[in-house]
Structures are given as structure tokens and as C-alpha cells.
């Protein structure tokens, strides 16, 4: 079933603040196999893609809305872009403020572009996460 184009441009509420711990940074670095010492210890900074964790906090409210019509089993990741004002650090309390920027069809697939401003709870801007996900085979079929 095709995605609901009415969702284009829609903003969604931020996630509950997520407090970054040195432990969670180390765990993430371990999981991606990156031994960089910058990701270890009390004053750790996070690897560039650590932000992905936030995706799964602010994302569901947007992507799991039944009216959007997204079947998660048919989804693959098209692209991801992160821009950074500064690295995420242990102690940051973060929110993502998401919106659906674009929905379009190409061939049999549909593309859903989301954008989220990543900020601390004090309003300091950390960066922007922009993501394209592909809904395989759900494009409206012509005639």
C-alpha cells in the first residue's frame, strides 16, 4: 500500500530527553568495533554515528503512525547524512525534533526523507540528521 503523502512536511514531537553516558558511548564504540581512546573514559566524546541511537527514540512516533502506512518489514535504508556542530559528549541530554521532509515514488519503490534537529535540552544545537528510507515495492502502480 502506498505511503500517505499527507505526511509530507509534518512535524513530530521530540523524544523524551536521552542522557548520554560514558558507558553507552563505550558500548556503542565496542559494538561498531572502534577502539579509539576518545570514546573511552569519563570525558568521552561519541563516534560520529552514535546519533543513530536517537533515531530509534524520536523515529517511531513518526514512522509507526498507522496512517502513514509504512510497513517496516519492507523498509531498507537508502541514505543517511549527519552534520555536526560539535561531537556528542557524555553528560549531554539530547532530543531529536523530527519532521517528514519528503515522500516520493521512483519506479516500484517509495522514498521517505526525514530530517531531525538534534539539540541539548538547553537548546544548544548539536547537528542535523537526515535520512532516506526506501519502502520496497509499495509505489502506486499506474493503470
Amino acid at each position: 500500500m502506498p505511503l500517505n503523502k499527507d505526511f509530507e512536511g509534518r512535524e513530530f514531537p521530540p523524544n523524551d530527553p536521552y542522557t548520554v553516558t560514558a558507558e553507552s558511548i563505550r558500548e556503542f564504540a565496542d559494538a561498531i568495533g572502534d577502539p579509539n581512546p576518545a570514546y573511552r573514559g569519563e570525558n568521552a566524546i561519541a563516534p560520529p554515528t552514535y546519533q543513530t541511537k536517537l533515531n530509534f527514540l524520536y523515529g517511531p512516533a513518526m514512522l509507526a503512525d498507522p496512517d502513514l502506512g509504512l510497513n517496516y518489514a519492507m523498509v531498507v535504508h537508502g541514505d543517511q547524512e549527519y552534520t555536526y556542530v560539535r561531537p556528542i559528549r557524555a553528560g549531554d541530554a539530547l532530543v531529536g525534533k523530527p519532521r517528514i521532509a519528503q515522500i516520493f515514488a521512483k519506479g516500484r519503490n517509495e522514498f521517505l526523507v526525514t530530517e531531525a534537529s538534534i539539540e541539548t535540552t538547553d537548546g544548544e544545537k548539536i547537528g542535523v540528521a537526515r535520512s532516506t528510507i526506501v519502502s520496497r515495492g509499495t509505489a502506486p502502480q499506474e493503470g
Binding site: 559494538a31 560520529p48 543517511q80 549527519y82 555536526y84 520496497r136
Partner: protein, 139 residues
């Protein structure tokens, strides 16, 4: 910690040394737990095949994380990364027993003051699986 590479030592067109990493089913479970992406297409072979995939596939974001590591290992200071983008061009299939090997390559495509743009590619054999771009602010 300051950047390891100084912008004065970097030239447009310069190629970075290629790097390889292995990805196994165990890595996908660890990444699922650390990232929060528990989509079963990255862990459950039967489920992956039911939804039309050839096998369990890697999280695209794990590929991007390893590309990020390639960039930060080159630059020295992870805080120097200003932008990282990856287009997932093909799936990285992760067979149960053998896993898979991904090769990452990169090239300096632009230098604007201390801001350096890298073009990066991840591939499995001859197949490109990720086309990436990074901007780093060097010392």
C-alpha cells in the same frame, strides 16, 4: 586531542590507504543492541528471506559507522568531523558461517582552508555497497 593530519599536508586528489573490516552475524546482534535497531532482517535469516531478501543483511548504519571510523582514524581527532553522508547502494549480505568482508577506500576531493572533503566508497568484492562523503575540519 588535535587532528593527526594537518591540512597543510593534505592535497586534493590524494588517496587514502584502503582498509578492510569483517562483519559477522555476531557483529549484527551487537550493533542491534547498541544502536536500538532491532529490525529482524538484520538477525533472522528466515524472516529476511520471507520479505524477499537474499539472506540476513547488515545494518546500513553499521557500514556507515565503519566508514566513520575510517575517516576518524585518518583525521586523528573524531571531533574534526563536520558532516558524514552515506548512500547505501547495495545490501551487505551476511551469511551465517562466513560473514563478509568490506573494503573502504577514500580520496580527498576538495580543500577549502582547513575544511577537507573526502569521497569514500565501501565495497564487497567488486560491488559498491556504500557511497559516502565526509567533511572534516583539520588543524
Amino acid at each position: 586531542m588535535t587532528a593527526k593530519v594537518r591540512s597543510a599536508d593534505v592535497a586534493e586528489g590524494e588517496e587514502l590507504k584502503a582498509w578492510q573490516y569483517r562483519v559477522t552475524r555476531e557483529d549484527l546482534v551487537a550493533y542491534a543492541n547498541a544502536s536500538g535497531d532491532q529490525n529482524p532482517i538484520h538477525q533472522n535469516e528466515d524472516f529476511a528471506k520471507q520479505v524477499g531478501l537474499p539472506d540476513v543483511i547488515s545494518h546500513g548504519m553499521l557500514t556507515m559507522a565503519r566508514i566513520g571510523q575510517y575517516v576518524t582514524d585518518w583525521a586523528g581527532d573524531p571531533a574534526s568531523v563536520r558532516r558524514l553522508k552515506t548512500r547505501f547502494t547495495q545490501m551487505v549480505v551476511v551469511p551465517k558461517d562466513t560473514g563478509n568482508t568490506v573494503t573502504v577506500t577514500g580520496k580527498v576531493t576538495k580543500k577549502d582552508g582547513n575544511r577537507v572533503t573526502l569521497e569514500l566508497a565501501a565495497s564487497v568484492g567488486d560491488t559498491n555497497v556504500g557511497a559516502a562523503e565526509a567533511e572534516v575540519e583539520l588543524a
